[in-house]
Symmetry: C2
Subunit: 150 residues, 2 copies
DNA sequence: TTATAAATACAATAATGTTGCATTTGTGTT
DNA sequence: AACACAAATGCAACATTATTGTATTTATAA
């Protein structure tokens, strides 16, 4: 699930996007790539509490601008960020997959493997992008609830 | 588009849900039913600036709990609320339609007429609900941009 | 008309996100 | 290797959005 990358690859990523290789940015990258769920600013802040809040916000913003991560809102309306896959470019995201928000663990999964169904809009509407949300139980939480643990 | 209802009908709605018929609630209802787009707390506040902000938040919350309106987040992650159609019940929303967020006027349209495509999730995921988002130009704004007004 | 529970208004607080600026750091150049 | 400069970070202040507690007001049923 989670894409495995080493520190050299993260440095390359930054360089490719004309971003300086700084410790905070590398740490954010490695955290986001180590998980298969999206990450919010609060998530980052709780782990990297030695990095300034504002810095984290700004890192997330540049990464999004550069097409490294994309933003997705969870059920509570808080912004979460997930690593983009190959076909995202600067200021032009291809975010057309299913976002699954677990109602128990609150994690947001990007299910890239699912391709979006084509659909036609009512007359007059011109869509530029689609996003599909689902909420429910993720594999981990549905297993837990089945055996009534917790 | 916008559902036409009179004040008696709004009073009935409140009564049906065991909510007291108060002036703020009736005003919120009539505003929300008069538009075909979703409404945010800031929207309400700018129009009804004589009503306390907190009251508006609480009204939106009860209405959502009672299944009168449902919450949908716009592109900026701010909560918008739209009137539900018939099949929503208390604490059990049927929100499975397309939400269209115009990138120009920022309005959120609920396109109920569009039925959701069926889709199968990866193994282990148990979906309870789906929501489909699209962003782009709404009919009004696409017409404007075509004739290069503004 | 009155009693009571519910709803509102107001004040205070919390959480989240943004802006401006001084300081520090990375990087290309000498 | 050292310097210069732009970029990034850290810090302080502020803005916005949402929540909680409580006194006051209001709707409704007795």
């Amino acid at each position: 699930m989670a894409q495995v990358k080493n520190n050299y690859q993260f440095e390359d990523m930054l360089q490719k996007h004309n971003l300086k290789k700084t410790a905070p940015r590398l740490r954010v990258l490695s955290m986001m790539y180590s998980k298969n769920t999206a990450t919010s600013q609060p998530d980052l802040e709780s782990v990297m509490n030695d990095i300034d809040r504002v810095t984290l916000y700004r890192i997330l913003n540049v990464f999004e601008e550069k097409g490294i991560i994309h933003k997705v809102f969870d059920l509570n309306g808080t912004a979460n960020y997930a690593v983009c896959h190959s076909d995202c470019q600067e200021n032009h995201h291809h975010d057309e997959h299913l976002h699954f928000n677990c109602t128990v663990c609150k994690n947001v999964y990007c299910l890239n493997e699912l391709n979006m169904p084509r659909l036609t809009l009512p007359a007059g509407f011109e869509a530029q992008g689609f996003t599909l949300y689902a909420s429910g139980l993720c594999p981990k939480c549905s297993k837990k609830s089945a055996v009534k643990v917790n």
